[in-house]
Amino acid sequence: MSRLNQFFKRSLSAHSWLGLCVGALMYLICLSGTLAVYFEELERWEQPAASEYFDYDIDIVDQAFNDLLDSGKTEITPHMYVTLPTQGNPRVGLITEKEGWFIDKKGELSSPTAHPWTDILTDLHVTLHLPKTLGVVLVSILGVMLLALVVSGFASHRTLLKDAFKLRLFGNKQLEQTDIHNRLSVWGSPFYVMIAVTGAFFGLAMIVVTLYATLYQNNDVQGVTQLVFGKEPELNQRIGRIELAKAIKQMPTLAPDSTPILAIVHDTGTPGQFIEVFNQYPGRLIYSDNFVFDANGNFLHRKGFSDGDAGKQIVYSMYRLHFGHFGGWWTKVIYFLLGLALTVVSVSGINIWLSKRKKRDAINHGWVGFVWGTPIALIMPAIARFAIEVTHSVLFWLCLLACCIYSIIIKDEVRSRQYLLFIWLISSAGLVLTYFWKHGSYSLSPLYMSINLFIVFMPALLCTVYWRRRQNISMSTQRKRADSQHFIDHNKSSLVNKATATDKPQNG
């Protein structure tokens, strides 16, 4: 074997090994991440009754916030949040570290800010429902593995240029899966690298900071963190009213082209309390630049994310770059579609391995249950959330387990895929009906209507494609049978003719 062939073969082996190690988890993370691009819209969909408006009066918000602090209705936590309307989420919320409420235009508290199903979805993406630190680090390591998969994938692609635009569908299953896998992975790789690097950042940054502090800053982890996120002011004020409105009213002068999206009151209820206002800049990837005020609304300093050191700007751009929350609705569409492509790549990679094995066992069946069971497992907690107002991530895992067991018991990949698709369609319809029953007229608003339609449209589309494909396969099988029958008949008749032709002279 030539050296080049050996290189490709060993790279492919490394790629397969890595892919098999992480394929299933990668599928969960990619699918949930794809949906999580729209987490703001999903949060709104979960709570359609909350009032939505862009033209808020900051004095009313300020009054509502201070009333909440004085009312004793909620426990005052060190960090208190005031979320302001954005394009993705046009609502005003007053939130503590434990609970929160939306407020209407008059400043009255309305529904609580609870979106348990969206939390299940985003937690699946961020932590795989594991304890927070462990989960974030594990998911970030999977980001590293995605990078390794991209590198090894390129290195193992023998016909990268020759096959750059080939997509051979419906024929040999292994060839079809390989073409889908290779085309989507090669052409989507710039996006996948970006997602992997930014995803790895969230969990691994703390490890980097700790080591950096140990080596160069005498173990001062907080000092290193402050290099990026700036110092907190040391204040000693009389505890009184939080002058939120006064602070936000200064923003047009301090940052003329930006929009305030969030305000956090730090160390609430202590003499050191201060306000931090997050302002978003048009045309910039940074999440915001932050302006710090004392509790009386006097401007103290700016964090400098918009024009500080390049490193500061890069680190503060990671969030929006990872989730696609910039530039308007079509950025989300691009992220959604490319995220879906990465999900397909994760599944097709395992499919290729399964079809190369030349044998069939419970892993084949379990994999079908896992892939087609995940959407069902995501829908079930949503149904529970709307039907009985209670939901939990355990329900997701139980449903997923049930789908895998069902698929293994049935022992027929085609049938179990068919049934799981059908169950997905039925449960989606069930979810939409439950939503209509629960939220009545709110369901008719364009956004919620589109989300509901999408929920039913996806499985319906896949069912149709699947059904048509089964028909094509059965038709081509029938055609093949007919052709071979015709061939046999034709041969038989020509043999008979030959026989009669050779018999004739003998008889004659």
Partner: protein, 150 residues
């Protein structure tokens, strides 16, 4: 092919001009993916299904030694590769004499990529035990260098 690549880079440049450096680069890169995947979809070939009969069903075979070896790769070699990658990234950042915040940003971006590259090279090697030893030796070397030069 040359014309194709020129068009690709031109589209990237135009998207930067249109949407600014930050958004334009992201749009340009995503745009290239979209156009290429679109071309592949347009170029698809419908083939007649020739799926052979399914293989007979077999029980799952587990090879304990092989499984243990694979687990060891994962649990030992991958963190080792991560440690080496972190040390290499820190060393690179120290060679640049940038402000501390820029050095940190460089490390958080470079570290996952170096980790991925080392993991791939480890899996690529035929003699994985030697590769693991080489990684361990490199960790000692880099950590000593970092401690001596800090």
């Amino acid at each position: 092919m040359i014309v194709g690549w020129i068009c690709t880079f031109a589209s990237l440049g135009l998207s930067v001009l249109q949407a600014g450096t930050e958004f334009g680069l992201v749009y340009g890169l995503c745009g290239i993916s979209f156009v290429a995947i679109g071309f592949s979809a347009l170029n698809h070939q419908r083939r007649i299904s020739n799926n052979k009969a399914a293989h007979p069903l077999e029980p799952v075979t587990i090879e304990p030694l092989r499984a243990a070896a694979n687990f060891l790769h994962f649990i030992v070699a991958f963190p080792l590769a991560g440690t080496l990658a972190l040390l290499v990234s820190l060393q690179i950042s120290q060679l640049l004499y940038w402000p501390a915040v820029n050095q940190l940003a460089l490390v958080v971006i470079v570290f996952p990529s170096v980790w991925a590259a080392i993991s791939y090279l480890y899996l690529f090697s035929i003699h994985r035990a030697y590769a693991a030893m080489l990684i361990t030796a490199s960790i000692s070397l880099f950590s000593t260098t970092l401690l001596l030069t800090r």
